[in-house]
Assembly symmetry: none
Homo-oligomer: 402 residues x 2
Amino acid sequence: MDILKDILRKNDTKILLVVLDGLGGLPHPEHGMKSELEVAHKPNLDDLARRAATGMTIPVDYGVTPGSGPAHLALFGYDPLEHIIGRGVLEALGIGFHMGKNDVAARGNFATLRDGVVVDRRAGRIPTTESSKIVSKLAEKIKKIEDVEVILRPGKEHRFVVIFRGPGLDDKVSDTDPEKVGVPPLKAHPTAETEGAKKLARIVNEFVRQALEIISDEPKANGILLRGFAKVPDITPFPEKFQLKSVAIAAYPMYKGLTRLVGMDTPDVGETFEDEIKALENLWNDYEFFYLHFKDTDKAGEDGDFKKKVDRIEYFDKFVPTILSLKPDVLVITGDHSTPSLIGGHSWHPNPTILYSRFSGLDDVDVFTEKACSRGYLGIFFAKHLMKLVLANAQRFTKFGA
Amino acid sequence: MDILKDILRKNDTKILLVVLDGLGGLPHPEHGMKSELEVAHKPNLDDLARRAATGMTIPVDYGVTPGSGPAHLALFGYDPLEHIIGRGVLEALGIGFHMGKNDVAARGNFATLRDGVVVDRRAGRIPTTESSKIVSKLAEKIKKIEDVEVILRPGKEHRFVVIFRGPGLDDKVSDTDPEKVGVPPLKAHPTAETEGAKKLARIVNEFVRQALEIISDEPKANGILLRGFAKVPDITPFPEKFQLKSVAIAAYPMYKGLTRLVGMDTPDVGETFEDEIKALENLWNDYEFFYLHFKDTDKAGEDGDFKKKVDRIEYFDKFVPTILSLKPDVLVITGDHSTPSLIGGHSWHPNPTILYSRFSGLDDVDVFTEKACSRGYLGIFFAKHLMKLVLANAQRFTKFGA
């Protein structure tokens, strides 16, 4: 990727990357062995596929099912096996917390302890209202340990996020969550021989000690389990890496967080996809690169709801003319990973992809489906390469070598 | 590949990898410019292709024709360019010799010397019965050199295998075979600056000196040439790497040896493919991963016998219903390398591949041929990635990253 630096050039093209979350699906035995994309009535997407180059992108590796973090990093042109986003960071992103370079985040669970032993790792999934109060109580009493600020934020039900903010912390520290019941919570241990890891482990253990005293009277949430200690990864910001003034248009905190992590602007754009489309129109003159996120396809897939996923694809399809009316020089429509209703969760299957530009080339694909895109002009390739094709189509690369 | 360790999980799925040796072919000008797979009547394989995902696997690299060793290592999920199986080892595997970690094997040729100069590198291809007697004579008289045991085994015609078994041997030793006539055999030299290589070279040269005395009266086989000194490669065993209780069902010694090398169980299963199928049925409850080897396609291809290869494909096809009746959760039907009758030997062409599981996805391919599979849903990819797809289809991978 070092050659990028040498061949990048600026121009006034506009690039739009539309990610339909969890787009790809699988043939379903209860739906005529057709996939969601095969069943959906989506004349605009099909027409676009007919007028564009198509292909499939592999998110991380053959057979590897990615979380949202690695799947998006790949779409943004980073090697997802090189840049790991820890669980703590993703939890923090998910609740909209802005992490700094000195922060280590961890995911917390309230748990039920009896005689010091974990009997319920989720404290009976106590309601969010209740756990929020406990988080407030903890936050009020634990503000600092040594020179490290402790920041607590509630999540859903038994979940919360804790951020340790201070100089010289290293996130190479083991979980305190034993990931099973019948045993006591673990002590945090440094997993690297650094002063920073030793310091963080010491502070984590002291935090847990103080917290347990404060919540000892709670009937269910009288324990806490921490896992996924992580700093924000050290990543060259996307706008710098690709010389693109970039904005993310995403309603969900997790995706705003992910894009903030790679240095995109992340304005508040409202709650719905219609809000997002309005924001896209309003921001069109101000940026060169636009990431537009559509969440509903993933949610329906996660719920194993084939018909709902079909419906959400058809819903998205109606916005395609509006998107095209902005006249992006390069338009990509793809997924971050597949979420087949048949599986009811993320999967490893590649993402059907449309690349539409004056220079994209064409193929015989005239319908936007997994089957069709798998024999498209672009072939099947790793998602981390997509941004290079995008930049080439935007004529933002000069010649390599003489 | 390190992420494999982190995302592997166990379940009770069963995986069957069927390798039709040398499966792929080429359009033949004397057979209507059709390939063997295109001519063969194989309704069961075609039906399976219709109900499965298809693609092509590249054994080692674009344009690279592999031997059986690297081709199989790739199928088993190892990088065949990283793990090299030396010629000596392959010869030992081929005659069914069980090599240990302290063994160095070499391939031997009897040769004809005149005045110390090689005049025939194969000793007139003396009959196996004759060469076996000479091997026995050598084995009787040379049992040990220094602290290294010398083990001799006859091969076909002028070929034999010698194993040097002892502590601290390094296989980095040059061949004594000059690979041409009119020159004397070479001395073995260490090619690495290690004590083990120096020791092996010394022992090899002493072995040759003693052997030449013993066979000096032979009319043809009065010389020996050694090449391909090799230890068994240091490979993470397949059952450990993929957390699969694994068995190889193969009649031929070479393939039993290759699979034993990667740690699969290799029971004796008889001589014929029908014996293999019976063994598959009998062992079905005892393992999680099954490698099933069909040799005939390669043999016919090697003989340049187009019709015979067609016949062998049709023969295999009849067993597909039996294989399916075992209800494997994941079934792969592929080749290790191509052996087109047109070439009469191994070739670099990718292997037509069927991947059949509940989650494999589908394509428009409804016939099992090279042409059809090259536009299948799986695309064209390196064989070393196949096992990852297999494990994903068996749902033996958890999510990577949050």
